[in-house]
Symmetry: C2
Subunit: 536 residues, 2 copies
C-alpha cells in the first residue's frame, strides 16, 4: 500500500477521542466534535468531547508539579527527550499522513513534508540544548581589591518561565500544532506544555500527543510535562491562559483569537507573555528592472506561491506593490492567466472556506477582479482570486488593507517610487516582505530595505515568502499585528528565548551554583566572562 | 570650595526651568512645580512648568524623525556619543551634587557615587557597542544542492524598536533618571529617547538633559535623539506612552504607576512593551548555622542595608524570614538596638515621607513593633522601624505582605524550615532574595536556592541586596510585580536587548546587507554561523 492509498483510509482504528492529561487518557464531558474531511464534507470518527475548566486545572496542576523536576533535568536529558519525540513522530508518519490529509484536505506530499519538518524542528532544539548557549551564561568575577567597594562574584544564567500553554494552529496540523515549534521550544527551555488542540484536526493531535506521551515514558520525564486538551478557544482556551500556574502562551491563528488571548493574559493578577502570531499580508515588491527582465515569469511564480496549500499560510503573499506601467501589466496578465488556470483545492475547514469567500466578495466591491479560478461544485474549495487597484484607492480603503486568509491577492499600482513608499508606510506590521530586484534596481532596493526593516520580521529577495526555513537565523515574527511580540520568533532556534528569563547569582557558594555557571566550565559551553565570550 | 560646601548652594544660576525638545529649550504652559528640599522643606528655584500633549507630540515627532538617521549610525559612533554624555556628566559633577543633594536630601557621598555610576553605565554600553555581540548576528549559509529543496542564504541581526519613553525615578536622581540605565541602554540600541523627568528633581534633570544635548551637538547626532519633558504621570506620562511613535517604555517607580503605564501601553492600537520596575520587598533568609555563628553581627549589618538612603531602594530588605529560636532573638535584639540608634534622615519628598509613615502605622496594628528610630522635628524624616510577627499571622495578612517604601522591615518567625518554605511560596515576585548561610546550612541553602530562583531575579549569599553592581551578569529584574517583564533586566549590559528585535534577511544581495552580516565579517564581531559561534 502506498502512502497515497493510505491517505484514503480515514479512520485510524486506534484513535480513542480522548484527551491526554499527564499521561492519563481522559474522556471530555463537554460538546463532542468531529473532524470534517473538507474535501468531501465527510464526518470523521471518533468524536472528540471537549474538556472543561476542571480538565484545565488538572493539566495545569500536573504541569506545575512536573515543572519542579523537569526544569532541573540536564540539557542532555531534554535533548534525548526531544529526539525521542521526533523519532516517534517519524515512526508514525503513515498514520499521521492518513489522518492529517483527511482532516485538512492538504495533499499527501505536503503532510509528509510537514511530518519531516516537525521532527526536524524537535531535533534542531535538541542540538541547541547540546550546544549550550541557550543558558545565557555570564560570569563577572569578583574584584575583592576594588575601591571604594569590592566587586562581588556575579553569575547569570537563564531558567525556564514555567508551564506553557500552546494553541494548535489550523493551517499546520503538525508543524504549528501539538508538537510544533512552540511546543518544541518550550520543552527545550524546560517548560512543561499544555496544548489546546485545534478542533479541525483532533485525530492528528491525538496521534502526536501519544508520540510525546510515549517519549515521556521511555525517557523518564515527569508525566505532567505534557497534556493535550480539546475545547473551545473562548472557554477552555481562556481558562488555560488565565490559570495562575501557566506562565506563557504560544498561539498561531487569527487576529481576533490572538487578541483575545493577549487581553486575557494581560488581565491576570500576574500578567504573562503571549506569543501570538496573527495577521500578515506579506507584500511583494517587483521592482522595475526585475519586471522589465521577467515580468511574465514573476507573475506565474507569484501565483505558485499564492495558491500553495490553498493560500493558507501566514506568509501567503496577499499584496503586490509596484510602479504602474506596461511591465506591471505583463506581470498581472501572466498572474491572471495562472490564477484562472488553477484548480480549486479544499480549504482546511468549512468556516475558513466561508470566510475566504466572504473576504473575496468584500474585495469585489472595492477593487477590480482580474482573475478567479474556475467555479467548482467541490465543497470548501478555494477559488483563487486576483485583484488590482490603484494606490490612492488602497490608501483610502480599510477593506483592502485587511488580510484574506487563502489564495487571494491584490496588486496595488503606484504612480512612482514615492507612492510605493507611501503605501508601504501605511502597512501594518508584517511577517515578511519580498523584493524582486535586478542589479539595475539597486538604489530602489536599498531604499526599500530600510523601510521594510521597520515593517517586517523577514526581508526576502528574489524568492517567495511561503517557505519558512527552520534554522538558526530564521525570524518568523514581526511588528504588531503580525505578532503580539516583535522581539522574538516562533520558527528557528532563537524561539527558545521566549520561554526563558535571566537569574543572577551573587557570591553563591561553588557547591550551590548551577553547573552551567560552575568554575572550570564543566559543560564546555560558551560563556561571557568579564564581558568576553569564551569556552574556557 | 569643597563639594560638601557646594551642596549647600541651592540654586545653580544657569537653570532655566525649561524643557528640552530636540535641542530647543521650551517653556511649559502647564502647572508650574518647584523642587522641595526635603531636609528643610525649602522651595527651590526655578519653577518648572509642566508640558502638554502638544509638547509630547512635538518630542515624539522629532524622535521618529531622528530615528531614521540615528538607528543607522554605526556602533562606534553611538559608543562615542555615549562616552561623550558620560564625560559631560562627570564634568558637571559639582553642579549635579549641589543640585541633587538639595532636591533629594541624599548625602553628598551618595550623589557623588551616583554620578560615577551613571557615567559608568553609559561607558558600559559604549563597550557593549564596540564589542558587537548586541547585533545578535546569525548566518545560515545557502545549501543550493540540498534536496528536495535548496536552502536559501538567511541572515539575522537585531535592530532598534524605535523611540523609547523613559520615566525618571524619584529614588535615583541620576542612575535611574534622565541619563540612567534605561536611557543608556535605549540610546545604545539605536533608539531615540523621550524622558519624562520626575518632579522631585527637575533641576538635576535639566542639568543632565543639557549634558546629553551637548553630546548630541558635539557628536553630530540628530537633535530629536533626545527630549526632556516635565509633566504629571497621569496626563503627560499617559500621552507619551500612548503616542503612536513611541515603541517601548522604561519605568522605575510605584506599582500603581507602573501598572497604569502597562495598561495604557496594552490598550494602544499597536501595543508596545513596557519595562516597569515596581514593587519588591527583598526577603532575607538568615539560616540557622549563620545565625548561630554571628546573629548579632548579622542583625547590625542588616540595619545598615535597611537604613541606607532612608531605605529608598528598590532592593531594600523589607522582610526577614527565619526559623524562630534564641539565635533569631539575638539577631532581632541587635537589629532593634541598631534601629533605635539610627538618626532619622530625610526622605525624597514630602509625599514619600507621608506614605512611609502611613505604611508603618498600618503595620503597627498588624505586627509587633520592636524598634523605631527616635522622633525628630526634622521635616520628612524617615524613622526606621522594625517589626516582628509569626508566620501564621504573616500568611493571613495582606497588609504585612505589602511593600513599605523606606526603612521598615518585618521579621517573620517560622516554626521550622517547612514554614520558611511556606512563607516563601506565598511571596510575590522579587528583585532579590538573600541567604545568609554557613557550611552547616548547605542542605537548607540548596533547597532555598531552588525555591528562590522562581521568585527572584537575583539570589545573593552572605551580603545585602542594596548594592546593585553594574556589569554583564547583573539581573535587576524579576517575576511580577517586581517588574512587568521578567525576561530581562534594567541594570547591566543585557538591558540593551529590551530595545531590540530580530530581522531576517533572506537571499539579500551582498551590497544591501547590513555590515554586521556581511561576508568576511568586516566588523570582526561574534556571529553564529550555521549554528556555531565564530569571529571568522
Amino acid at each position: 500500500m502506498t502512502t497515497a492509498q493510505r491517505a484514503g483510509s480515514l479512520t485510524t482504528p486506534t484513535l480513542t477521542g480522548q484527551m491526554i492529561i499527564a499521561g492519563d487518557h481522559v474522556t471530555g464531558t463537554g460538546t463532542a466534535v468531529h473532524a470534517i474531511n473538507p474535501a468531501t464534507d465527510e464526518r470523521l470518527q471518533p468524536a472528540y468531547a471537549h474538556g472543561t475548566a476542571a480538565d484545565v486545572a488538572r493539566a495545569a496542576a500536573a504541569a506545575a508539579e512536573a515543572f519542579a523536576i523537569y526544569r532541573n533535568t540536564s540539557s542532555a536529558a531534554r535533548a534525548t527527550f526531544l529526539d525521542t519525540i521526533a523519532d516517534n513522530i517519524d515512526a508514525a508518519v503513515d498514520d499521521l499522513v492518513a489522518r492529517a490529509t483527511a482532516e485538512t484536505g492538504l495533499p499527501v506530499a505536503r503532510i509528509t513534508g510537514e511530518v519531516g519538518r516537525t521532527s526536524g524542528q524537535l531535533r534542531l532544539f535538541s542540538a541547541v540544548l547540546r550546544e549550550g548557549s541557550w543558558n545565557g551564561a555570564r560570569i563577572d568575577t569578583a574584584l575583592p581589591d576594588r575601591t571604594p567597594l569590592p566587586r562581588p562574584d556575579i553569575r547569570q544564567r537563564k531558567i525556564p518561565l514555567g508551564p506553557v500553554a500552546v494553541f494548535g494552529a489550523s493551517n499546520f496540523p503538525l508543524a504549528f500544532s501539538v508538537a510544533g515549534g512552540d511546543t518544541a521550544s518550550a520543552l527545550a527551555a524546560g517548560c512543561p506544555v499544555v496544548v489546546k488542540a485545534h478542533d479541525a484536526h483532533p485525530g492528528t493531535s491525538e496521534l502526536v500527543g501519544r508520540a510525546i506521551t510515549a517519549a515521556i515514558a521511555s525517557t523518564g520525564m515527569p508525566a505532567g510535562t505534557f497534556s493535550l486538551l480539546y475545547g473551545s478557544g473562548r472557554e477552555l482556551g481562556i481558562a488555560l491562559v488565565t490559570d495562575p500556574r501557566i506562565k506563557a502562551v504560544g498561539f498561531t491563528g487569527s487576529r481576533s483569537g490572538g487578541t483575545a488571548l493577549v487581553q486575557a493574559a494581560a488581565s491576570r493578577p500576574e500578567p504573562i507573555p503571549v506569543y501570538a502570531e496573527m495577521s500578515s499580508i506579506n507584500p511583494i515588491y517587483p521592482l522595475p528592472g526585475a519586471l522589465k527582465a521577467r515580468a511574465a515569469d514573476l507573475g506565474r511564480a507569484f501565483v505558485g506561491s499564492l495558491t500553495l496549500g490553498s493560500g493558507q499560510f501566514c506568509t501567503n503573499p496577499g499584496l503586490v506593490i509596484a510602479v504602474d506601467g506596461p511591465d506591471l501589466d505583463t506581470f498581472i496578465d501572466a498572474a491572471a492567466e495562472a490564477v484562472s488556470a488553477t484548480t480549486p483545492t479544499p480549504m482546511l475547514t468549512p468556516n475558513i472556506a466561508k470566510s475566504f469567500a466572504g473576504g473575496v466578495d468584500e474585495f469585489d466591491g472595492a477593487a477590480t477582479v482580474v482573475a478567479r479560478a474556475a467555479e467548482t461544485s467541490a465543497p470548501n474549495a478555494c477559488r483563487a482570486a486576483l485583484f488590482t487597484t490603484d494606490a490612492d484607492t488602497f490608501l483610502g480603503s480599510e477593506t483592502l488593507q485587511q488580510e484574506i486568509f487563502g489564495s487571494s491577492s491584490l496588486v496595488v499600482k503606484c504612480r512612482d517610487a514615492q507612492q510605493v513608499r507611501d503605501v508601504t508606510a501605511k502597512l501594518e506590521g508584517q511577517l515578511t516582505a519580498t523584493v524582486h530586484a535586478d542589479d539595475t534596481d539597486h538604489d530602489a532596493a536599498a531604499d526599500l530595505v530600510g523601510l521594510l526593516e521597520l515593517k517586517a520580521g523577514r526581508i526576502l529577495f528574489n524568492g517567495w515568502p511561503t517557505g519558512v526555513e527552520v534554522c538558526h537565523a530564521m525570524v518568523h515574527g514581526g511588528p504588531y499585528p503580525s505578532t503580539s511580540d516583535s522581539r522574538t520568533t516562533s520558527v528557528g532556534s532563537l524561539a527558545i528565548e521566549r520561554f526563558l528569563r535571566p537569574v543572577a547569582y551573587q557570591n553563591v557558594p561553588a557547591d550551590l551554583l548551577p553547573t552551567a555557571l560552575a568554575d572550570g566550565n564543566p559543560k564546555q559551553i560558551w560563556r561571557r566572562v568579564d564581558g568576553e565570550l569564551t569556552r574556557d
